[in-house]
Amino acid sequence: MTENIQSVQKNIYKPAVMKIVGRHDEAPGVKTMRLEFQNPADHEEFRQKYRTGMFGLYGVYGEGESTFCVASPETRTDYIECTFRQSGRVTSALANADIGDLITFRGPYGNRFPIETFHGKNLLFISGGIALPPTRSVIWSCLDQREKFGKVTIIYGARTVADLVYKHELDEWQERADVDLVLTVDPGGESPDWKNKVGFVPTVLEEAAPSPENCIAVICGPPIMIKFTLISLKKLGFDETNVYTTLENRMKCGVGKCGRCNVGSIYVCKEGPVFTAAEVSRMPAADL
C-alpha cells in the first residue's frame, strides 16, 4: 500500500569519478587499469563495502557503462584495478583512456566469495583466459593473509602464451614456495620457449589431481571451460557445495531493477555474481 512507500535517498545511478593512475597491457586487446577515487566519501563507501567477488559498472560519459569485476583484492582498497578486453563501445573508450584521464565507477555491487569460511582449508583456483581477473582478486585476498589458509594451488590456462594475463604476477606466484602454479596453453598455443604444460584446463586439472579433502575450488572461465572443469572436479571427488564460480550477464543498473541479468529466477547482480556449483546446477541451463 502507498503508505509504506520508502523515502527518497541518493541517486543510485550516479557514478563516482575515478582517475586512471596506472595502465598496463596484459595481452592483445586486454588492459589493466588502476583507478583512484576522486571523492573521499565515495572512496570510504567503497572501502566499507567492497569484498572480493563484487563487481562494478565502469563508464565513460558519452559511451556508457560496462560491467566487470573488481580485479583487485579486498585487502588492497586504496585503489580499484580492472582488467578488460577491448570489444565494444565502452571498453574501446576505456582502452583509449590514458593515465590521468577520468572515468566513472558504480559499485561495488553483488555478493562475494565468503573467504572467511575458507580459513584452514586448501584452496584450488582454476581459471581460463580473460577470467583470471575475478580469480586474481580472490587469490590476492587470500595470499595477503596467507597464514589463514592451507595449500594454495592455481591452475591457469589460455589459448596461447600471449593470451595469458598478469604475466608479472604469474612469475611472482611461480617463485613463491607457498603457491603451486600450473600454467597451460591450448595445443598449438605454445611458443618455442614455453616450458609449462600444453593442454586444455580440464585435462591439466585431472593430471594435477588435487585432493578434494578439505579443499575449496574457485573456478572461473569461459562457459565451455566451466562445463568440462566441473565434470573433472566431480571425477576428482569434489562436492558441488565446495566449488565456487562467478557468473556474468549483460547488466545496465547493477541493482536488480533493469530486468535483464536473471538466470531463471536468480538475479546475477543481486543474488550473485558468486555462486556455488550446486547453485548453478539448479539454474535452468537454457537460460545461462
Partner: protein, 337 residues
C-alpha cells in the same frame, strides 16, 4: 448516508485542487490514442472509456528520462543531476488495474537500492481510482485475483453511483484524505445506491498456471515455441504494461557534454540480453516470451509475493499479432502440471 462527489462539482474540484497547488491529471483522449494526461478542466477528462490505451506507468517511469547532464572540460567531469519535476499531483479517474500496477512495482524499485525517480513521484501523487462499471473482452483482473474495485495502490476509491451522476468516496490513505480535504465543501452526504460493478469473467485458474510454471521440467517445454511462434518481438506489450519495468541506460551526447538517460527497454528485444561476445542467453523469441511470463508469474512473486500483472489486458488488446498473457495462461491452465 455516505459522502459523495457529484459529477456537476467536478469542475469546481479541479479548480480547487489546482489552486491548492496540485496539478490534475486524468484519462484523456487525444487524436487516435488515450492516456493519463494533465488537464485544466473537468471537461477534458474522458471518464467513459474502459481504460486508456497507455498505462499510468509513464507518469512515474517515463519512456525516456534524463538522469545526469555531464560536461567534461580540462580534465574535470561536472555532472548535474536531473530530478523529477517536483510538485503534488492528483491523478483522477485511475483504473484499479493501473493503480495496482504501481503498488506491484514499489518493492522492485525499493529493494536495497531505492530509485528516487520512482519514489519521488510516488510520494507526490494522489491516486484517485474509479471502480469499473464496464469492462471489455480483454479485461482480466479477476483472473489475477484482483477486482473491478480493488484498492491496491489507490489513495481514494470512487464508486460510481447508479444514476451515473457521481461517486461514493472511500478515503484509503492519509494522502488521499489530505487531497479530499481541499474539496471538502464540494462533497455531499447522500444515500444514492452505487452502480453494479463490471462483470469480468475469470479466464483461467492462476494457481494451476503458477504450478506449471514452477515445475523446472516445463522450462524447456515445447509449449514455449508453439505459443510464441507468431511473436514479432515488437515490445508493444511491455511498453503498454503498467508493471513492466525493464530499462536501459544510454548516453546521448559526445565526449564533452551530454545526457545520461534511463529509457524503457523490453525483454522482447534480442539485444536486451546480448553479451559483447555475441553470446545471448535468451537468443530466441520463444526464450524471451518465456522470460516475460516466468518473470511475471513465477520469479517476481517469488521475490515480492505479488504477481507482476494487474490484469489490465493491454498486452492482448493491442498486440499486433493477437497474442498476449491471456492466451498463454489460458493454454497453460489446460496443461498437465
Amino acid at each position: 448516508m455516505t459522502r459523495c462527489l457529484f459529477s456537476n462539482k467536478l469542475e469546481n474540484c479541479v479548480t480547487l485542487w489546482r489552486s491548492a497547488g496540485y496539478s490534475v491529471i486524468g484519462p484523456v483522449r487525444k487524436d487516435a490514442t488515450s492516456s493519463y494526461a494533465a488537464v485544466e478542466h473537468a471537461a477534458d477528462f474522458d471518464l467513459g472509456m474502459v481504460l486508456p490505451d497507455r498505462s499510468i506507468k509513464e507518469l512515474f517511469f517515463p519512456q525516456t528520462e534524463p538522469m545526469l547532464h555531464y560536461t567534461i572540460k580540462q580534465q574535470a567531469i561536472n555532472t548535474e543531476e536531473f530530478t523529477p519535476p517536483a510538485g503534488k499531483r492528483i491523478i483522477f479517474g485511475v483504473r484499479p488495474c493501473d493503480a495496482s500496477g504501481l503498488s506491484i512495482d514499489d518493492p522492485l524499485f525499493g529493494w536495497d537500492y531505492k530509485d528516487e525517480y520512482w519514489f519521488q513521484r510516488r510520494n507526490e501523487s494522489v491516486i484517485v481510482t474509479i471502480a469499473c462499471t464496464k469492462a471489455d473482452d480483454f479485461c482480466l483482473c479477476t483472473s489475477l485475483k484482483l477486482a473491478p474495485d480493488s484498492t491496491n495502490g489507490s489513495d481514494i476509491l470512487l464508486r460510481p453511483l447508479e444514476n451515473n451522476n457521481g461517486w461514493q468516496v472511500e478515503e484509503l490513505t492519509e494522502r488521499g484524505r489530505e487531497a479530499f480535504s481541499a474539496i471538502a465543501e464540494l462533497l455531499q452526504e447522500a444515500s444514492e445506491p452505487t452502480a453494479p460493478l463490471a462483470v469480468v469473467p475469470e479466464m483461467f485458474n492462476l494457481d494451476t498456471c503458477v504450478a506449471w510454471l514452477q515445475n523446472p521440467e516445463n522450462f524447456e517445454s515445447k509449449f514455449w515455441k508453439d505459443i510464441s511462434m507468431r511473436c514479432i518481438g515488437c515490445g508493444s506489450c511491455t511498453y503498454l504494461c503498467p508493471t513492466c519495468h525493464c530499462f536501459d541506460i544510454q548516453d546521448e551526447g559526445d565526449t564533452y557534454s551530454g545526457i545520461r538517460r534511463k529509457n524503457w527497454d523490453s525483454c522482447s528485444f534480442a539485444l536486451f540480453t546480448m553479451h559483447t561476445s555475441g553470446h545471448n542467453p535468451r537468443s530466441t523469441q520463444s526464450a524471451r516470451w518465456r522470460q516475460r511470463i516466468m518473470h511475471k508469474f513465477n520469479y517476481f512473486p517469488g521475490k515480492f509475493s505479488v504477481n507482476s500483472c494487474s490484469g489490465c489486458g493491454r498486452c492482448t488488446r493491442q498486440c499486433p499479432v493477437d497474442m498476449g498473457i491471456t492466451e498463454t495462461l489460458q493454454k497453460i491452465s489446460t496443461l498437465h502440471p
